[in-house]
């Protein structure tokens, strides 16, 4: 009896601990922003308006809101408040980017390699960014699962950056990157045809896998040898069942169209094309499928398959009814995505609201988090960026950035050294401006692998 009681106490304790673990909750803040020009995105522009954030959520929007006790007040007179910027394609804050050794790695997840101590997070906050989509690289046809994160800088625990409730997403890649890897290793795929075949074969394998397990589980009373567990197939099955949103690295119109056909055949409909430089050529088809596009404003000329690019891409897609976002794919561009969005006004004449939607509500929809972020609405998360001028102005400078009502960036209290973890044996020399840009791009680790192969092939 005594043992039993001890055991049950132990169980209760364990439960308490596991609840504590699961509830290791991110901080939530209370703040009242007064007299701002509020760019709501979904409900127009509101002049001289207050926003009240309580316990991390937008509680009220209106004029002359009553100030509750113990709430920080920010006088934003003359300033512009917009929803925190969302970057649908980023490679900051990851200790690895590509598991480029295999052409299908659906089983790997960026969740496992989040580096909350990357100072690039702070730099992104200083550009008004509050959420990023940390993507696996583009070295493989079916890459790893991505991680949607909130930029809660200041913690060493990767779990603190998790975007609670965000759907799972995964990276696919078409074109030069995965075929280059295939040719280097002498494995499939070496051509664009091989890429399509590999995707179809993978899904067909997943269907067989699902059947094998369904058969095993159908009648458990029978004595049976269990099939092999395969995390790769488990993930592909989840894609087939619509539980994982696909974000596909792509450039050319023909392969964009190809993937839509493949997905139609397998009944998968949650699809966003990343980069998609030639998406403007198939804009009506994208709209008909219901696919989205997450693109650069005017970045190309870095390889052949981006040859037919245009800065009008965002405007053409928007006018054709395609949900479109502008992303960074860079630790540098992420600091001024508001400039990138503004380019769609120069090239294509999008309205202020349409341009800002490219970096707020549209990427939120592509990531399945538009119920929480992407616009300033009562009930949504208190993820806010404050600018001194209209964010689409060349002269705009971000002033403050809030995530869940907690201030993570303030230009007035911006310390020079924002590092969270410092190597005590590091040397301090003349301060050198160091570019992380090379690290934060898709193909980073693949180039390391290339060096290895260079070494071994010359042997």
């Amino acid at each position: 009896m005594k043992t039993l009681r001890l055991t049950s106490i132990f169980t209760i304790l364990m439960l308490l601990f596991s609840i504590n673990d699961a509830k290791a909750q991110a901080p939530k803040g209370d703040v009242l922003i007064q007299n701002a020009t509020v760019l709501t995105i979904t409900n127009g522009t509101l002049e001289n308006t207050d926003i009240l954030i309580e316990d991390g959520k937008i509680k009220n929007i209106g004029k002359d809101l009553r100030q509750p006790n113990n709430v920080t007040v920010i006088d934003a007179e003359g300033m512009f408040v917009m929803p925190g910027i969302i970057d649908a394609h980023s490679h900051i804050a990851g200790t690895s980017i590509n598991e480029g050794t295999s052409q299908v790695t659906a089983e790997v997840s960026m969740e496992d390699v989040v580096n909350p101590m990357d100072v690039s997070i702070y730099r992104a906050l200083a550009g008004g960014v509050t959420s990023i989509h940390l993507m696996h690289g583009s070295a493989n046809v079916i890459g790893g699962q991505n991680e949607t994160m909130k930029l809660r800088y200041g913690t060493t625990n990767p779990d603190d950056l998790r975007f609670e409730g965000a759907p799972r997403t995964i990276k696919f890649a078409l074109g030069e990157n995965p075929t280059r890897g295939g040719r280097q290793r002498g494995i499939q795929p070496q051509t664009r045809m091989g890429v399509e075949a590999m995707i179809r074969n993978s899904f067909n394998d997943a269907i067989k896998y699902r059947e094998a397990w369904a058969d095993y589980n159908s009648n458990r009373s029978n004595r049976k040898i269990a099939p092999e567990f395969d995390l790769r197939m488990e993930t592909l099955v989840d894609i087939l069942e619509g539980e994982i949103l696909v974000h596909c690295h792509s450039y050319r119109a023909d392969e964009i169209y190809m993937l839509m056909r493949v997905f139609s055949d397998f009944g998968i409909d949650k699809l966003t094309f990343q980069h998609a430089n030639e998406a403007y050529k198939v804009a009506p088809e994208l709209a008909a499928f219901g696919a989205s596009a997450s693109i650069f404003s005017d970045w190309w000329a870095y390889k052949l398959e981006v040859y037919y690019s245009t800065a009008y891409n965002a405007a053409i897609l928007t006018r054709n009814g395609v949900n479109t976002s502008i992303n960074s794919d860079s630790g540098e561009l992420i600091r001024h995505l508001f400039h990138e969005a503004a380019k769609s006004q120069k090239y294509g004449g999008l309205s202020d609201n349409e341009a800002l939607a490219l970096i707020t509500i549209n990427p939120a929809m592509q990531l399945g988090i538009d119920n929480c972020v992407g616009s300033i609405e009562v009930g949504k998360d208190g993820d806010i960026a404050i600018f001194d001028k209209h964010p689409l102005s060349t002269y705009a400078i971000p002033q403050m950035t809030f995530v869940d009502g907690v201030k993570y960036f303030d230009i007035n209290t911006d310390e020079a050294d924002q590092r969270i973890m410092i190597d005590p044996e590091s040397t301090i020399e003349d301060v050198v401006i160091f570019s992380r840009e090379d690290f934060d791009m898709c193909m980073h680790e693949e180039s390391l692998v290339n060096f290895y192969e260079l070494v071994n092939e010359e042997k």
Binding site: F17, D21, T95, S96, N98, E99, G100, T101, S102, Q103, V104, T105, E107, V108, S109, M110, D112, V113, N115, H136, T156, N157, P158, R185, G186, I187, R223, K224, I225, A226, E228, F229, D230, L231, R232, A416, D417, R419, M421, I422, D423, P424, E425, S426, T427, I428, V431, D438, F439, H444, E445, L448, V449, F451, Y452, E453, L454, V455, N456, E458
Partner: protein, 561 residues
């Protein structure tokens, strides 16, 4: 009748063993190296039988491998070799909770022809949990004697390798004639680390985490399938034979822990994440950054072996005109040095009993590190506990060793004063009751031998043949700090910054060390080993991450101007 037969049978089986052991004792010894007796009495010594305890002017008797008596009122056996312990201090022999001591680094595996990189063979992928470190043990490994020389008697040795290099063993740091004699306890843990396969799956942490989950889930299924088949195979398809899964059965049963070699905070968190998902028993060794995860370590019952690779205290730039920015950067670096140093006392305050790991640490730096820690609330009693009783408990050998008590194994160290001070030396070490005596030089606290002083100390000019051409630079060896240290430099101004050598070993004209450098965000470790003949060194430099070995040569001499 039946009984008699049984008895005769037993005798028959036992006889060869009885004879064999008699032979060992009776064998003549033309070298004259065998001890006259295996009974030792250390008398009139200051004895620290366990952390926090002290016996003044006491006696320890170690006889035939076992501590047979300890105290102030001890009868000395007539056949004992008596060691006058006046001014000497006796401690329990140290336990190294994780290292590669005694294990030879295997040659890098050749990349197989036509390697299918998505699914390489298990040995190339580094998935060999079925291998035992015993296969890598080498009785002539110089690390055995260099670790023993500073007081270690037992090492928890892990195999060299990649993601799942194999099973660890506890070994005795003795001069054995056969590897089997070294083994104290085998298959203590299944070792894992975040080391990817060069250019094949799993190539990095992403693949390793996924592969881990796959291996573990399949081990669970394989165990169930195998048991089902064993109970009654009729009508069942034969389950696949799989050594990797089988090696995980004891982990799944929780009779064997996983030991993660995880030095950084993020690596340790990943190990804990896997434990939370799968529920195995977890040890984390070589840990350098524990201070942010003390609660997680505690809540998840992780056995912790902190790294003895302790940072050097950062030196401030004494330039009067240094900028405010540099001063601020120095202050923040010092803040993190302090955090690093304070974590030992912080873990202790949290009630976590931890051991020390010497993995990748140069043996001559170790004692200095204990002394440095005393300024940070971690005193000699704490250090001794982390070197003896705590690792003994965590590794399940506390009934055998870890304290000086009657009936325990004869593992002890004798020093010329309190061990945890800069002016004492280890005079002798007992491992399994065998005595190892060290020569102590007058007026010198350096454990550096004449061989080192004459052969190694000075500047060497090396030449390394890399695929990108010849790289040259210097090695600078010195004993100025009281211990042997080395620095690796590059003559190329855009090349490597000066880098301290780690795990530096030099004995019998054989030199080995390693150093790490940052190759664009990825830390690469280079392992250098070779032989010195006069003023010439010839050897190889190995980068495991690239599966690459390249020739390196060096000549001793003054640097060219």
């Amino acid at each position: 009748m039946k009984l008699l037969r049984k008895f005769t049978f037993r005798l028959f089986v036992l006889l060869p063993f009885l004879m064999a052991s008699t032979l060992v004792i009776a064998q003549s010894d033309p070298t004259g190296k065998s001890p006259v007796t295996r009974t030792y009495a250390i008398t009139k010594a200051t004895i620290i039988p366990s952390p926090g305890a002290k016996i003044d002017s006491g006696t320890v008797i170690i006889s035939d491998g076992v501590i047979t008596a300890i105290g102030t009122n001890v009868t000395i056996p007539s056949h004992a070799e008596v060691i006058d312990g006046t001014d000497l201090w006796v401690y329990p022999g140290f336990i190294d909770a994780m290292s590669n001591t005694g294990a030879n680094r295997p040659e890098p595996m050749e990349r197989p022809d036509n390697l299918f990189t998505p699914d390489p063979p298990n040995d190339y992928a580094g998935v060999t949990p079925h291998i035992s470190v015993i296969e890598q043990l080498d009785i002539t490994e110089s690390s055995i004697s260099s670790m023993r020389k500073i007081g270690f008697t037992v090492s928890h040795t892990i195999p060299h390798g990649r993601m799942l290099p194999g099973k660890s063993s506890l070994i005795l740091l003795s001069d054995a004639e056969h590897v089997d004699h070294l083994i104290l306890k085998k298959d203590v843990s299944t070792v894992s680390q975040f080391v990817g396969a060069p250019g094949a799956y799993p190539g990095n942490t992403l693949g390793i985490m996924a592969k881990w989950r796959n291996i573990y889930r399949n081990a669970e299924l394989s165990k169930r399938n195998t048991e089902l088949y064993a109970s009654n195979p009729t009508g069942l398809a034969r389950p696949m034979n799989d050594r990797v899964s089988e090696a995980f059965y004891p982990v799944v049963e929780k009779s064997q822990p996983i030991l993660f070699n995880a030095s950084s905070l993020l690596e340790a968190r990943r190990a804990i994440q896997l434990q939370k998902e799968m529920g195995f028993n977890l040890m984390i060794g070589n840990l350098e950054q524990s201070w942010e995860i003390i609660d997680e370590l505690d809540n998840n019952n992780v056995s912790v072996f902190l790294s003895l690779d302790i940072p050097e205290k950062p030196e401030e730039n004494d330039d009067e005109d240094k900028s405010e920015e540099v001063a601020n950067l120095e202050a923040r670096r010092l803040e993190f040095y302090n955090r690093h140093m304070e974590q030992f006392a912080a873990l202790k305050a949290a009630g976590i009993k931890f051991g020390f790991s010497t993995h990748g640490v140069t043996s001559s730096k170790i004692k200095k590190n204990f002394i440095a820690l005393q300024e940070f609330g971690f005193d000699s009693t704490d250090a001794l506990a982390a070197l003896t009783t705590h690792p003994a408990q965590l590794l399940g050998i506390d009934a055998i060793t870890g304290t000086l008590e009657t009936g325990k194994m004869g593992n002890a160290l004798v020093s010329t004063g309190p061990y945890f001070s800069s002016d004492s030396d280890v005079k002798m070490v007992f491992v399994n009751g065998d005595k190892y005596d060290f020569e102590i030089k007058e007026n010198s606290s350096t454990p550096v031998s004449d061989e080192v002083a004459s052969v190694l100390i000075g500047t060497w000019n090396y030449s390394l043949t890399t695929p990108e051409g010849e790289q040259t630079g210097k090695w600078i060896f010195s004993t100025e700090t009281g211990a042997l240290t080395g620095v690796f430099t590059s003559n190329d101004p855009s090349g490597l910054a000066d880098t301290d050598m780690e795990n530096l070993n030099f004995a019998n004209n054989s030199l080995s060390y390693e150093f790490a450098f940052d190759a664009g965000g990825q830390m690469l470790t280079v392992f250098v080993s070779g032989d010195i003949d006069g003023d010439t060194f010839v050897g190889t430099a190995t980068i495991d991450a690239f599966n690459m070995s390249i020739p390196i040569t060096a000549t001793k001499g003054e640097p060219e101007q």
